[in-house]
Assembly symmetry: C2
Homo-oligomer: 511 residues x 2
């Protein structure tokens, strides 16, 4: 039997101290609970030693001035849990073998957040968790601030309509919809997504190729998990999607930056510097965050290179349904007839983040391993939520919603652009975009990205400095501003606040 | 510029074949879509070569017998996407540099499921995904069958009440509740859980120590991710929880089986065979699946050993609130004053699986790394669902629900036990349990676990053979039967079916 070592055991104190227990009759905690807790403590800390006889319940009740029933109940509880044993005719005794180490409890107030800690944790953390602490993911602010990129127009989300679908599902769906559901998602949602994507994105897939995830981030993790070994090369757009990069980095991939030119990901540079990647991460429809659309020629070259070199391509198609001019270009996946592309989509942008649903379209021969991986990593997405979104798509509500949001976002983009030009000219230059939910604004000389970002954040304006997206240092300073999540009426006064902030930063710089 | 290699490029066929395009006027696909698709194909497969002039829209419209507007729209779309370019005054031409490999598209019907494939995938999978294919997690059946262990009484779940809370949240909550929410979960839910656990499980924690997950499985993955390096030793109860073991195995831990004796996890055996584990996985309140409750002495020894050896303990407290006799024992975590225990709980059992909410109580100095890891692995649990469950707990609905389910489950346990004894005696011996949602039944000689399981599954009865839970071969054959998810009126006829099935299996064996 395991016996704790000497240093961690403690000196036993002889003598029953039970009658000295202090009970507070004015406390919200019952006398039962107070006595129960006090006795456990005395037994565990050795004040009452093993096999020591406890006073009878009558005697202790008298000593403490409580009812005998209370004491009896405490004794029974302690017997049930093994702190005390009773011998018929002899009374109750403290149990044996309860000796244990005693060490000071850490003072909670002195404990700093992990990232700020000076001392190392006493136990060991994994290699991955050391990489996590480098991740940008830890810095997310709980509340959404104005202009945070990637946030849909939650202020105009059709809550009534949405609630109607929830009520329908909560009331009428089969009991199984309250269960775990099939690995990889419910067929009904897969069918709805496949039909939608064939139409909206020319995507070339069977419903069976779709694996439902809890969002794009989980999709990236699944891909890293299923396809990447430690130190595998991954081409990553530079600047590029932050949380995806953090995921691949933490999962052990070697992130190799690929610059963006006017046709998209710079293939020649990438081949020259890091040939034969295991995985290529790209946002061809709307480069994240620069906004470039990859040309057809580049798309075909990329597919061809990936096929020749057995590289997987991750196509992150996060917001391209919000196109404000012409028809959206078909997905890269639509051109792939070799099964090289894993197409990642999310409802976080097209509906809202708390829906916690996304999907990957994978080649047929990866469906089983991805479904299993997804089940393994967290049992999958909520079936109830899948049922709600299935109906929402089937009834045409989803396509309606996209159309409505397109009009709303275009207006928000226009107002933001006009206001930035009007109020911030000479300090900040917005770049026109015809797709998506954010725009880039270049900062004039004299404005530091990080300082500007911080100063704006104090005004509840949440931009992202371009350098946060960057792997290698960028030559131009800029901010990413989301326009989709901020109501048009709020934009002019917010930009006025921005303008004043930039002015004082510039002034502070010159004086 | 990257030029695809010779072998993957293809022979160009000269000549415009546009006028030979076949359009189907009876199809549901519009003529625009048919022509658009056909022209892309001819350009991409080289039937129309680079810089070749296309017929004028008028001419092609005449040749095909479609309106000129249709052809013009197709040309415009192809120009927008880069398949075609136009020169003013000269007409439209097929774009350059679109050459690409052509290889036969795999015939979908011939593709087998990953697990059944004979050939290796052309691209490389990761080490982890090879381990996934060994996992039991891939075998889950979509629909819940009778007696599946771990499924709550979905048939009596209070849907109306639940819907009231959803409506309240969908209608009134702040826009932020439709967003991503704070990393690690919303404070409101953490507070509600901490208050509940202090009361129900004597758990010793601040709300800040709680990390909200999408269920117990994600909690195990987070723990593996944050604390385990490849080939680290993990003590795992044998037999033990399947999906948790699969997660640790797939994440690279070395699973070391620890036998269960009448006091719980056999500490002496574990120390003798695999000393100093990184992590110890245990279900002290109700051993999964055997049902043993770990004794107080063993708990204290385990805590002491873990502290002395810097091992983390995972306490999986999955169903101990359903105790049918006496008060539940406090959690192991309640005895830990060294910060060695990570306490894992889930709402999958106490509410229902599709709620996709669970939690880990971690020592203070791990909160930040766990929250970041959780955000990284999938952005966290749905804020809407967190808001609903918070209110459900705060209003006392959750405690009510547990109390009601306790009565219902006790009745279901009683009916199942009585029926098994009545109808299956001499073939199957149920073991009495006072906790949880399942029971063990030992099989008589002559009944093979796996064969019995399969035969029952064909009758829509879903037991789990004990060997599936086991790491090392067990001497006794048994099945795990869940009683919580099956209505009492359904139990007698189901057990009758079972009895007949067992009889014919025994008969087949003896003849």
């Amino acid at each position: 039997m395991y016996v704790p070592n000497e240093t961690s055991s403690m000196k036993s104190v002889q003598g029953a101290l039970l009658s000295s227990i202090q009970l507070d009759r004015n406390s919200q905690i019952t006398l039962f609970q107070q006595l129960d807790k006090a006795m456990r403590k005395l037994i565990l800390n050795g004040a009452v030693i093993a096999n020591q006889r406890l006073p009878s319940s009558r005697q202790l009740a008298d000593d403490l001035g409580v009812s005998r029933i209370t004491v009896k109940n405490v004794y029974e509880q302690l017997i049930a849990e093994g702190y005390v044993y009773s011998k018929i005719g002899s009374g109750s005794f403290a149990a044996e073998n309860l000796k244990r180490e005693k060490s000071p409890r850490p003072n909670k107030r002195t404990l700093l957040k992990y990232s700020q800690r000076k001392s190392t944790p006493k136990h060991v953390l994994s290699e991955q968790s050391k990489r996590i602490t480098l991740s940008k993911a830890t810095t997310r602010i709980a509340e959404t601030r104005s202009f945070r990129p990637g946030i849909p127009a939650l202020d105009v989300f059709p809550r009534k309509l949405w609630n109607k679908y929830w009520k329908e599902v909560n009331t009428n769906c089969h009991d199984d919809s309250f269960g775990y559901g099939p690995t990889g998602g419910i067929p009904r949602l897969k069918n709805a997504i496949a039909a939608h994507l064939r139409d909206a994105r020319s995507v070339n897939c069977d419903a069976e190729q779709i694996v439902i995830t809890t969002g794009a981030q989980q999709a990236f993790v699944l891909i890293a998990f299923a396809l990447i070994n430690k130190d595998n090369i991954i081409w990553y757009e530079d600047p590029g999607h932050i949380a995806g990069r953090d995921a691949f980095h933490t999962m052990g991939a070697k992130i190799c930056p690929v610059a963006i030119d006017e046709e998209g990901l710079d293939l020649d540079q990438a081949i020259a510097t890091h040939p034969k990647p295991a995985v290529i991460f790209t946002t061809p429809s709307h480069q994240h965050p620069l906004g470039t659309t990859m040309s057809l020629v580049r798309r075909l070259q990329l597919l061809s290179y990936a096929h020749d070199n057995k590289s997987w391509i991750i196509e992150d198609d996060y917001d391209s349904e919000f196109q404000y001019r012409g028809r959206p270009l078909p997905a890269l996946q639509a051109l792939d007839d070799q099964g090289s592309v894993l197409y990642v989509g999310t409802f976080s942008k097209s509906l809202f983040p708390a829906v916690r649903l996304g999907y990957i379209i994978v080649p047929h021969d990866l469906v089983a391993v991805f479904s299993a991986a997804q089940s393994l990593l967290g049992q999958g997405a909520s079936v109830l939520m899948q049922e709600v979104v299935s109906r929402f798509i089937e009834d045409g509500r989803f396509a309606d919603h996209i159309r409505k949001m397109r009009v709303i976002y275009q207006r928000r983009r226009d107002v933001l652009t006009v206001e930035l030009r009007r109020q911030c000219s000479d300090m900040l230059t917005p770049v026109h975009t015809d797709v998506g939910m954010h725009l880039i604004a270049w900062l004039s000389d004299g404005l530091d990205e990080l300082k500007t970002h911080k100063a704006l954040l104090e005004l509840e304006i949440e931009t992202i400095p371009l350098s946060i997206f960057s792997i290698t240092p960028q030559t131009k300073a800029g901010l990413v501003l989301g326009f989709s999540g901020t109501a048009p009426d709020d934009i002019p006064p917010l930009v006025e606040k921005m303008a004043n902030c930039l002015k004082s930063l510039l002034k502070a710089n010159t004086t």
